[in-house]
């Protein structure tokens, strides 16, 4: 379990993290969201024991990060931002070094190393110098060092940052694999990632928690929640369709994208407008390429609460 109480980090001229309190339970994958400079990395660094809080406290696995730092670090697997590694070492040498520091010995050391090498598919690069690896492989090595001691808590700072879409997908799959029995905290500013892997999202802005909910519930705060998006076959019907949609009582407003011949009807609070719109389309003889119900746009929620 991770628990923070009034966690605060002040620097000389600004407060990076301001009175942050939350708890994370096993099985949860917590996404830490926020604009750059919001305090995500600072919070994670305090949890990982790299920097000390100015006020408040944090505990990981029941160990206070300040008074029991070694025990707390022992239950954490941590991937720092940008996944810094020792570039001059070979992958095998580096993972062995981390396994030693993690106190793994004998049989267990060998099986854990074999497991992470297997799990992250590092067989082909074991003897390669880390400096010569591609970004994707380097990130995998970073993840391997974080899980080599099979920690109950994983703290990953922007694990997919700078990777290509395939590599991103791969890292997400790894996180999902590990999610069942661990506590995982990841920070990101990629919102689709939160929807893809997180069971819960905390949004922070200017060092404070501004939202703490499931990704679905956050998306539901969007004004696009239950909005209906319609794409027409014939762009010529756009104006007529717009007028007809706007005339419906439950529709609050209509947004038009001429390039895509798309209309998005936003509902008045609490109304379901899908049936009315589909009926309207039939009645007016609108030819539809696509009709769908939106669950809400996380990026819009994100912008509206962090701006």
């Amino acid at each position: 379990m991770i628990k923070t109480e009034h966690l605060t980090k002040r620097y000389a001229d600004f407060t990076a993290v301001d009175d942050v309190s939350f708890e994370v339970k096993p099985g949860e994958v917590l996404g830490f969201l926020g604009p750059n400079g919001a305090g995500k990395t600072t919070t994670m660094r305090m949890l990982a024991g790299f920097i000390a809080p100015s006020a408040g406290r944090a505990s990981v696995g029941g160990f206070d990060v300040e008074s029991q730092p070694l025990q707390a670090k022992g239950v954490i697997g941590y991937l720092p931002e940008g996944a810094p590694l020792y570039g001059e070492m070979s992958v095998r040498g580096f993972l062995g070094f981390i396994a030693d520091l993690r106190g793994l010995t004998g049989e267990r050391r060998a099986t854990r190393l074999a497991h992470v090498i297997d799990h992250l598919q590092l067989h082909g690069v074991l003897e390669q110098t880390i400096d010569t690896l591609s970004k994707g492989f380097r990130r995998r090595v970073g993840l391997a060092q974080a899980i080599v001691h099979d920690p109950p808590v994983l703290i990953l700072d922007e694990p997919t940052d700078g990777l290509d879409p395939n590599q991103k997908q791969e890292v997400r799959r790894l996180i999902e694999d590990m999610a069942r029995d661990k506590i995982i905290v990841i920070s990101t500013h990629i919102l689709e990632e939160v929807e893809a892997v997180c069971t819960r999202a905390i949004i922070i802005a200017r060092g404070r928690i501004v939202a703490d909910d499931t990704p679905a519930a956050l998306a539901a705060r969007s004004r696009y929640h239950n909005a209906v998006s319609v794409q027409l076959v014939d762009a010529g019907q756009l104006q007529a369709a717009r007028a007809a949609l706007g005339a419906l009582g439950e529709v609050a407003s209509v947004e038009v994208s001429e390039r895509e011949a798309r209309l998005t009807a936003l509902p008045r609070a609490g109304h379901m407008i899908l049936p009315a719109i589909s009926e309207l389309a039939d009645r007016q003889g609108l030819k539809l390429k696509e009709l769908h119900l939106e669950s809400g746009r996380l990026d819009e929620v994100f912008r509206s609460i962090t701006a």
Binding site: R45, Q71, K73, L101
Partner: protein, 244 residues
Amino acid sequence: MRNVGIIMRRELASYFATPLAYIYILIFLVLANVFTFYFGGFYEAGQADLGAFFRFVPFLFLFLIPAVAMKLWAEERKSGSIELLMTQPLTLWDAVLGKFLAAWIFTGIALALTFPLWITVNYLGKPDNGAIVAAYLGSLLLAGGFLAIGSCTSAITRNQVVAFIVGVVACFALVLAGFPPVLDVFRSWAPGALVDAVASLSLLTHFQSIQKGVIDLRDLLYFAMLIGLFLYATAITLELRKAD
């Protein structure tokens, strides 16, 4: 203690992972021999001892030791790997000590490779081998002192060049304090006690007294305290600046 050993082994291995370590040792050996034979007047002195070599050791170390020490922490901070290191279950002290010991062993290896000089004097005559052993020990302690200072200056900055220059200046100041011309400047106006105090701060004074073959507890204590003090300063500096 286990962690100190793990850190030390990794550091030592990383020295030899690049050609830099071999080049460094080569430069050290070439310079040591140039100083001994050309400037030290090894043959002209007509004495079977290594005085010609050990006289130049402090000045050789003055530039070469900060060059070893400069990467100790500056590089970790620049690459960000310090964050990886300090979030492993080890204490700051484990890391400071492990890195220092690795650098010390490395300079010890470079120093030990001057052994042909020792063989040469034994071939040419009958030197006082006890004094030579003492002088080697003194050189090793001197290297330790310089390394501790260099470790501290390396922790101050992310820039290795800055770490090197500040390290050389700091080491130079401590060497100068025992240099006769400098002491003469003090002697002309300061009371004798102050001159002695300045001289006793000097690395050179303590190194020379060991080099003469007299291993005095006070000299050993001086080096132990110097190393301890600067490693402690390294740890404090890191605690304050590691995340900058």
